[in-house]
Amino acid sequence: MENIYKPYIAEIKEIVRETSDTTTFKLEFVDEEVKKSFDFKAGQFGEYSVFGVGECTFCIASSPTRKGYIECSFKKVGKVTSVLYDLNVGDKIGFRGPYGNWFPIDDMKGKNLIFVGGGIGLAPLRSLIWNCLDNRDDFKDITIIYGARSINDLVYKNELKEWKERKDINFVVTVDPGGEDKDWKGKVGFVPTVLEEVSPSKKNAVVITCGPPIMIKFVVLSLVKMGFSDEQIVTTLEMRMKCGLGKCGRCNIGNVYVCKDGPVFTYKEIKQFPAEF
């Protein structure tokens, strides 16, 4: 019987230091068969492990349209991420996944997409953004509003530049008041405020948002104020997880297991949850 808890082995091919405590790995599976056959959808996550230290949970941050590798971005905060952070190109780690549901990309075709991200919460959105950009003709207008506490906390800086220059994206970047410097050319203000300022139309639109819980909360309030319906708002939730398969008992909100039934939910679904997250 297949040992579903035995990870695939992946080699670190590239490392990008995003901020003082956040890093991105480009990973390739060592087994050629796995490398060829591995498939996932934007919004799914994995269990990344260092043998001898343990496993930790975060999303796949690259697009499923880019084959042969996956990328992940994480903040050095816990036991495993602290060790992961110090690894070098050529080191090998474990990966189990992909787990969970995904962004409803098929339902987004022919619609205007509004991405609202905060801090490292851009990681799951980035997977979907590139997925959409690689099939640009399938979607109408694309707006990306991204903010962080300060200039130094912005992640994927090279890609932000690229999105800024592209004519087929309306890209707005902001930092919290006090997070700017004198050369800063983006906006200054909290993400929900900037969102209201940009004021994208709700017509034929889907909003996909991810960031710190407090940001998501106020983004949703702004969107509701702007007339967006609960079904038009999509987000991805975070919970402490171990198995990734709905068994270990940690991540449930009521009878919904975030790892298996989520992590992607519409605001309509979230409103049905008991107040326990």
Partner: protein, 329 residues
Amino acid sequence: MNTKIITNIKKFIEELILNYAVYGPTKDGFIQFEDTNDINICSENTLKAPKEIFFPQTEVMFTYQKDKKGEAERPVLNEKRILLGVKPCDVKSFLIMDRLFDNDDYKDPYYIERRRSTVIMGIACLSPKDTCFCNSFDISLDNKEAVDILLTDIGGRYLTTGISDKGSEIIDNLEKASQDDIKKAEEVIKKAKDKLNSKVSLTDLSNKLKKVFEDDMWKRMTDKCLGCATCTYLCPTCHCFDVQDENLGKEGRRVRLWDSCQFPLFTLHTSGHNPREHKSERIRNRVMHKFSYFKGNFGEIACVGCGRCVENCPVNFDIREMLEMVSSK
């Protein structure tokens, strides 16, 4: 039905040990009977439930060598097992765990491997305690579902019924039971049934629970809880677990360990946020999970009324009182 009689249970088990790894009940829990001295048929509910035979407290999922990153091997289970002396409530717990660990969406390799290679020799329960409430779940004291063989103690002799083909084969050489033995077994079962008098009602409980999620009863009733998690460790259907790496020099193993939803660290995010920070929320989760969530997700209540949590709680928290409170709402 293939009904036999065991006149010397010790001798019968000694013979089984020659061909099988035999696990049986002691007061504390189920252990492997390695030789004659170990053999014992505990007539009361064991302290620990037999779930650990299929879902051990520590499960080695694979081993690795730290310097050879990426090499991971899994230990192979290679034994034919007999699990002996399992009470009807605990047998029922296996059926509940099967729904969780062996379904169309999820196949737990370790659990299934053990479960499928184990012959279950159940035993009729003749000594229900006042903490037992299995009658609320319609579990019959001489349950024949999901056992291969059923034993009934009729005064030192055991009426032995082969239920499955596998079970019947094992007891094939035993002496045939007399009508008198069969009658005696019926009598002892009836007498035991009279001892059960739980009035816990499960009618519409799942829906009622959803309505009391915000009720202040959770805070009120859980005030005395110490958060020791004894209830979850002894419970035959609790199955929360942790995954950890254990190192011994260059060698290491990734293990799955029992964990408990009653510990605050269980759900603590790295950010410091904790969705179930207070014990009232954690106990609510345990009760809701057993009587509402699990039923919604897997079609059955995840409790068998064995009473272990009631009997062993250091502060006399009684889940039956909680259920009665919900029912009365």
